[in-house]
């Protein structure tokens, strides 16, 4: 059990790092882009451009939240 906890902690620290908001921003932007794609709302070049813009926006939001704390 101790090993599993340490193993999980290692990967959490490694992937999420010292600011969970970055991982949350990336996953949220990608999830919204995926929803826009699977529902047929967007497609083609517009879809990938919107995906990139979503990543930019959510990164800014995470940084602003970080600094305002």
């Amino acid at each position: 059990m101790r090993f599993l906890k340490a193993f999980g902690r290692f990967w959490y620290d490694f992937i999420i790092g010292d600011d969970w908001k970055i991982a949350a921003a990336v996953l949220t932007a990608l999830a919204l882009t995926a929803i826009a794609m699977t529902t047929g709302l967007l497609s083609g070049s517009i879809l990938v451009i919107v995906g990139a813009v979503a990543l930019f926006l959510f990164f800014v939001v995470s940084m602003v939240v970080d600094v305002r704390k």
Binding site: V26, T33, T38, V48, A52, L55, M63, V67
Partner: protein
């Protein structure tokens, strides 16, 4: 060699270089303050563990995942790593976070080593061994992920591996010659650059890989193909400079 491949090898080299510099600082601190034999034993043990990890992770990723899923997974990982680096670089450039200093890091590690108790097993100082092992393994796993993700995604594992090997060899030679932490390396600037590169490549592959969730399960296509990476790089650079300029104003406003 194509421009994309140069970009990948360069990114792998710089990212690995920065990680190896951090690992070297830890090993030097243990060697100088505790025991060179134990610090080197910990380093060798970590390198053996890293080799096994690299083979296992590389095999699992390339065997079990279809191309678009691989792009999504590795792109997302690159994005998270890259944006973590970009976040710190942006905060440091805007003066909201102290600059990383290898001399200070060395002093902290050395102080912790002096304060730790003495416990020897099989003639090896346990503290020096464990700290060296953890330092080299953790920094090394990051290098391995960068190499695997860049290598597999670009279909050029050889180039990515050589980028990392060259960086490791250079740090090793510099460490052996200078015998002190490599504080003269402009680490903060390098990290900023690597953060931008990882974020640009990560965005490209992660969004491309979202195609695995479509009915055709094929990768999405960027307008302009690989050239889109340059546009993304410029986009992340511009955004980070805007944040460097505006975040301190936001902090001041909050302080009022």
């Amino acid at each position: 060699m194509q421009g994309t491949t140069w970009g990948l090898v360069g990114s792998t080299f710089i990212a690995s270089f920065v990680e190896f510099v951090e690992a070297l600082t830890i090993v030097l601190a243990m060697g100088f303050t505790r025991s060179w034999r134990s610090a080197i034993a910990g380093t060798i043990a970590a390198l053996v563990a890293l080799t096994a990890f690299t083979f296992a992770a590389g095999y699992a990723l390339s065997t079990w995942l279809p191309e678009a899923a691989l792009q999504l997974v590795v792109g997302t990982l690159l994005l998270i790593f890259g944006l973590q680096w970009l976040r710190k670089a942006t905060l440091r450039s805007s003066g909201l976070k102290a600059l990383h200093d290898e001399t200070e890091e060395f002093a902290n590690q050395a102080a912790a080593a002096r304060a730790a108790g003495s416990d020897r097993r099989f003639g090896i100082d346990t503290f020096a061994f464990v700290v060296s092992f953890k330092g080299v393994f953790l920094e090394g796993v990051e290098v391995v992920f960068v190499v695997i993700t860049f290598g597999l995604s670009a279909g050029n594992m050889g180039g990515a591996v050589w980028g990392a090997v060259a960086a490791g060899a250079l740090v090793l030679v510099l460490g052996a010659v200078l015998h002190r932490p490599l504080s003269m390396i402009p680490e903060n600037t390098l990290k900023y650059g690597v953060g931008l590169l990882l974020a640009a490549f990560g965005t490209y592959w992660a969004v491309e890989g979202l195609g695995v969730l479509s009915s055709e399960h094929h990768s999405l296509e960027w307008p302009g193909g690989d050239l889109a990476i340059l546009v993304l790089l410029a986009g992340w650079l511009l955004l980070s400079r805007l944040l460097v300029a505006t975040l301190p104003l936001l902090r001041k406003e909050m302080a009022r």
